[in-house]
Symmetry: C2
Subunit: 202 residues, 2 copies
Amino acid sequence: MKSMTSTSEKILDIAQSLIVAGGYNGFSYADISAAIGIRRASIHHHFPTKAELVSVLVDRYRRQAEAGLKSLGEQVSSPAEQLQSYLNYWQTCIRDASPPFCVCAMLAGETQMLPEEVASQVRAHFHSLASWLTSVLSAGAEQGLFRLNKRPEEEAQMLMASVHGAMLSARAFGDPGLFTKIVNPQITKLLSPDCLRTAQSR
Amino acid sequence: MKSMTSTSEKILDIAQSLIVAGGYNGFSYADISAAIGIRRASIHHHFPTKAELVSVLVDRYRRQAEAGLKSLGEQVSSPAEQLQSYLNYWQTCIRDASPPFCVCAMLAGETQMLPEEVASQVRAHFHSLASWLTSVLSAGAEQGLFRLNKRPEEEAQMLMASVHGAMLSARAFGDPGLFTKIVNPQITKLLSPDCLRTAQSR
DNA sequence: TGTGAGCTACCTACCAGTAGGAAGGTGCAC
DNA sequence: GTGCACCTTCCTACTGGTAGGTAGCTCACA
């Protein structure tokens, strides 16, 4: 356990930002090399192949995301606030000009030509995110906070699609604020009327 | 005016399917060459640079889409059915295993590293699609077919995001049918109650 | 005395793009 | 209708550059 961020993690950090910007084929070892100031061969020392690099990267991202969602469930009790906190994460990412885009959403579009090991991990992230949203939505529905028109799993899929589509639109229009404008109304629709009144009153 | 599909169009067709599969950096002139059986240099004769090839490609896609949406408005009168027909287009694409993905949605994720000429055209497609959806939604709202919670422009943005996000999810899960499962409820929510009853009765 | 991390130097394959020529068609002058 | 100029299309052959990946070394450090 090193105190400062290890080289491997620096590599992963850079690679992640590069993937978010241009996808799997949008970056090379040379790009990483230039960004952190070590030779290309040295990167191969840490990650023998590109497929392995990206595989480790997505695995790390996935664990970070899962840990984040889990701790979010422990700190915030209300399902409604949990949902809002999740969306706030992306909104602050956008505001800080840091990657306003999910690595897995980026890679999902390239599924067909991804190394199988990577593709399966992307799929796994989508699964865990969907099931987290499902559990939050169904918990909120039981507490009478949400009014769901469909089964929680379906509403979760719809919400997830909205989030990813909103990221895409924000990029296409070059307008980061568009993300919020698209996603916020989406969760407002889910809130049950009485919950809505209290939300509007603040 | 040639009767059979010209070589240029064959090139564009292949390139489009390759972009849909792997994005801007996910294909090369060599791939096209192998697919249609002419040499790489011959492709350069038709499209001197890759940026120009993709630019022409997106322009063609954009014109096709705009023409399709326009003729859709002339053949189908009801805004509700226009909307459904638009979604059916993607659903049949998915069923036929043909590109279940919008070229521009694919490229939108790569905006940051696209040649400017391409990026601006992707943006233009998003604009025209959003404004078409806006006009359909506001027309439907005036006729009492839709019950909109927000301004038509905002509802259009939300719907568009849902469509693109659903494409992403369908890919990530490797389940083409998921697209329909996500998108259909989204438009059902828009339908006003009385319109809903007639739709359910068939 | 290893072991991990970095290096130089190199490999093969592929990339986008260019130069220049062969084949075939079209239109025109005579 | 033969010859000629011109055009489009596609070709072979090549360029400079970059891709991912490997071999084998040095050096620090424990």
